[in-house]
Amino acid sequence: LEPIAQPNRLQPPLAPPDTPHIPAGMSRIAFRAMGTTIECMLPEAQAQEGAEIVRALFARWEQTLSRFLPESELCYLNRHAGETVSVSPLLFTVVRTALAAAYATGGLYDPTLLKQIIWLGYDRTFDDIPPLVAVVDTPGQPGGDWRAIQLEQKRRAITLPAGVGIDVGGIAKGMAVDAALNALHREGINTALVNAGGDLAIRGTPPTSNYWSVAIEGKDQSRIIALWSGSLATSGVGRRRWQQGDITRHHIIDPRTGESAQSGLWSVTVAATRCRQAEIAAKVAFILGAKQGIAFLQQHALAGLLTLEDGRGIATDNWPAMTGNSGRERKIQV
């Protein structure tokens, strides 16, 4: 990995990321859902109406798709693995999209790693995981069970292979962000930003600016870019990690091993048209590591920034120069 010096990129951070700047004419609303903080920026005149739309949507999605709510439809489906289950349009669409993503990534994104992540200790909401979880004497088991899932479009039915459970947490969050923007648009709200714990998408731009200024959380400090349209998602080990015995675990599972991915990366941020695409691409690039991750993103015409464990950044050719960086970005030839 040969670094390419880019000294002209060195500029100080403009603002700490925890103090968001609300553009003039916009309102900020934040609430908890799907295990994270949902943040919306909406035009002042439509803020209340828009917030209700987004809040209701996320509540419905969580109620249907959470693996932590025993009464959710997803849990019902998982409990009935081996049987054919008729499901709601929402669950069917999310599972179908998850399978499309698995297919598009050659299985590097795998929605059927539920038992693996439970073995690793992520068996409850992240907030409830103790600092040290018990070691389970189960060897890592590779994924790939998604290939045996059967979907029946006409009956809207899903058949999971016996013993297989699905977890659509990440992709569902990205899809919910996309769906929220669409729902706002249907109600005539054409300027909005929706951010679900790092998976964010925009529609339109604030009245006083022709772009959204977005900070990207790195290991040491944030980088800032301008977003005119589309979405951004960041996957990494900065937050969802825990200790299992002597081993530090995190939530990004490599389906080739069934263990937390060890790729030498701290995080990956991807820009894409849709938030679900950015979410999945960030996860897959993280699993692949620096060189293959960059190649994967460029193959799909996606822009990405990969932060190494030592804090340095590697970007795709189409990633923009940023302010607030440490001057340690480099491009990689693939």
Binding site: Y211, S213, E217, L227, S229, T273
Partner: protein, 142 residues
């Protein structure tokens, strides 16, 4: 047989209509040697004109397709914030094609199965933020 008669009677009006139509048609077309007959030279001229028209339409169609391909840009802008963004991914789609936005939130994803999960329909635009505007939000590690 009565049934046969009934069938015949049922066909009668239809047949007579057909005859009438053929008479009308024969009236509408000029008879051999009449002043309205198109000569061989005129026919050839007409064919030539049609060929030329076809050629012009082909060239125009090819040009239009070429233009569309040329305007298809892939990549990301590295422009300073505030300057006009350059579209990435597919060229912008006309508003009438944005049917996904008109559907319910759970019925919007049929295109992904058909066209590939990572298809960048509509594209995305990111760029350098060289202004002094602080960030409105943060993409945190999820």
């Amino acid at each position: 047989m009565p049934q046969h008669d009934e069938d015949n009677s049922a066909r009668q009006p239809h047949q007579s209509q057909q005859n009438q139509t053929s008479v009308e048609k024969s009236i509408s077309f000029p008879q051999r040697g009449s002043p309205g007959r198109v000569s061989k030279a005129e026919t050839l001229s007409l064919v030539k004109m049609l060929k030329r028209g076809l050629l012009v339409a082909s060239v125009l169609g090819f040009g239009a397709m070429g233009g569309l391909v040329m305007s298809h840009t892939v990549g990301t802008t590295n422009q300073a914030a505030g300057s006009p963004p350059v579209q990435t991914g597919s060229p912008p789609t006309s508003p009438s094609l944005f049917t996904p936005f008109d559907r319910e939130d759970h019925e919007e994803d049929h295109d992904e199965d058909e066209e590939g999960f990572f298809q960048q329909q509509g594209g995305y635009n990111i760029g350098a933020n060289r202004s002094t505007q602080p960030p409105a939000t943060t993409s945190r590690t999820s």
